[in-house]
Structure formats: structure tokens, C-alpha cells
């Protein structure tokens, strides 16, 4: 898995690429923890580059969303194919803030608080 990040007015937008599985999740967790230390309060995860996600990936995303709860929050976008299906089946689409596109996520501030 690769993470390509950019900053848009105080928000980190991260494009995740490859497979988010048991093996690669620790890398995401380290990446996220590093940003938490620098007091980032909103993260947009663009999953359009992911070809695969397992419950290990979902668990890490849920943990990240919980950490950002009460701040400006975690938003998810780019849910397609297998990854979109896993988000549907797990019910994650209804508990996380999701948008079709990065632009949508950037325009909407976290309303779920």
C-alpha cells in the first residue's frame, strides 16, 4: 500500500493506493499517528486507489475516525468496486462520513458531531 498526501487548507487529503490488508495496515496506523502528533484535526481518505480492503483495514479506519471525533473529523471518499462493497456490507457507509469525491469531502465540514 502507498499513501500520497497533500494539504488543503488545514486538512490532509490522503490517496491510498494498493491493498489495505493485515500486512499493510500497520503502515497506515503509523502514518496516521504521526499526523495526530502534529495536531491535524481533519483527514480526508480517498480510497479510489485501493483495490482491496479487509476487516483489518476497516478496523484501522474506524479507530482513526474515533480519534478525530469531536474535532473536524475523518471523511472517506472514492468508494468503488470491492472496497465500496465491503463498506456497504459492513455498514461502514452509514457510520462514517462518506462522499463521492475529494471535492465533496472538502466542501462539507464534518456535520456529524
Amino acid at each position: 500500500m502507498e499513501i500520497a498526501e497533500r494539504f488543503v487548507s488545514g486538512t490532509i487529503v490522503a490517496l491510498l493506493k494498493g491493498k489495505m490488508e493485515a500486512d499493510t495496515v500497520p503502515m497506515f496506523e503509523r502514518w496516521f499517528d504521526t499526523h495526530m502528533e502534529s495536531s491535524i484535526d481533519r483527514v480526508v481518505l480517498d480510497l479510489s486507489g485501493l483495490s482491496y480492503i479487509s476487516s483489518a483495514g476497516l478496523r484501522a479506519i474506524l479507530a482513526a475516525a474515533k480519534q478525530l471525533k469531536g474535532q473536524r473529523g475523518l471523511a472517506i471518499c472514492g468508494l468503488y468496486g470491492m472496497v465500496g462493497q465491503v463498506f456497504q456490507v459492513s455498514g461502514f457507509v452509514s457510520i462514517l462520513e462518506t462522499y463521492p469525491t475529494v471535492e465533496g469531502a472538502l466542501q462539507a465540514e464534518s456535520l456529524i458531531d
Binding site: 493485515a22 500486512d23 479487509s54 476487516s55 478496523r59 474506524l62 474515533k66 456490507v89 459492513s90 457510520i95
Partner: protein, 144 residues
């Protein structure tokens, strides 16, 4: 009984997961499994194997045995065996699948996925071992 595509036995440790996935997915691919169906198999496999690795033997060490067979014309049958603590994943009642962020627990995400993404999941305890049988059929492709 169908044709055996993979048969392996190895230590139930994290380090084995990539090799197990590679072997099973390569065999499924050569049996004509592609794209969404292959991803689904990989996911179910990862969840089932990770459950054994993470929970079956506690802090001790043990082994797992895996078999992949063809099932009927279009299906696959994945059989997993371990000799750890008795655990029936088919008996677990789903935690809340919706609700709010706070209510959703970090655990209990993998089993509902396994149940949703397989056609059938059967468990039996046999001579101090857990035997889990997962049946997958090809499904119509979901439009992107």
C-alpha cells in the same frame, strides 16, 4: 467431492498469511476466478486465517491446515482446520451493523463480512480441532 486445488499445513503465524493468500488466489485464478469474485475469496480467506492466527492458540503456537476444492461447476470450497480453542464463528450474533460511530466497536467486523461474502459457512468441532467450511460461488459483477 470436487477437485483439490490447494492443500497446505503451516504454522499459524502472521508471517504465513502472504504465502497462503498467494497460493490460494493463484489456484483460484487458474480455476477461472477473476476480479470481484477473486477479491471476495481473498477477503474471506484473510478473515478466516487471521482469526485462527490471532485467537486460536492464545499466546501459544499451533498449526493450521487449509484445503481449497472446486465445488459443483462454479463454486469453491475452502476448508480450514486448527487445533486451538473451540470457536464456532457461525454462532456469533452480528454486532450492530449500523448505528453511530461511538456504538460501533473495533471488534466484530470480520465475521459479518465472512457471512455476507460466502454462500455458506459451516462449522464443526472434530477431535479437538475446529473445522470451518466456507462455500463461495461466483456472483454477478457489481457495476462500478
Amino acid at each position: 467431492m470436487g477437485q483439490t486445488l490447494v492443500q497446505l499445513r503451516c504454522a499459524a503465524v502472521h508471517e504465513q498469511l502472504p504465502a497462503i493468500k498467494q497460493q490460494v488466489c493463484a489456484a483460484a485464478r487458474s480455476a477461472g476466478w477473476r476480479s470481484d469474485d477473486l477479491d471476495r475469496l481473498e477477503l474471506v480467506l484473510e478473515e478466516a486465517v487471521m482469526n485462527i492466527i490471532s485467537y486460536s492458540y492464545g499466546s501459544g503456537r499451533g498449526e493450521l491446515q487449509l484445503e481449497l476444492r472446486t465445488e459443483g461447476g462454479e463454486g469453491l470450497r475452502l476448508l480450514l482446520q486448527d487445533w486451538g480453542v473451540a470457536f464456532d464463528p457461525t454462532s456469533v450474533v452480528h454486532p450492530e451493523c449500523s448505528g453511530s460511530l461511538e456504538e460501533r466497536s473495533i471488534g466484530g467486523i470480520g465475521l459479518p463480512l465472512m457471512q455476507a461474502l460466502t454462500e455458506n459457512m459451516r462449522y464443526r468441532r472434530q477431535h479437538d480441532s475446529n473445522l470451518l467450511e466456507l462455500i463461495l460461488h461466483k456472483r454477478p459483477t457489481v457495476e462500478r
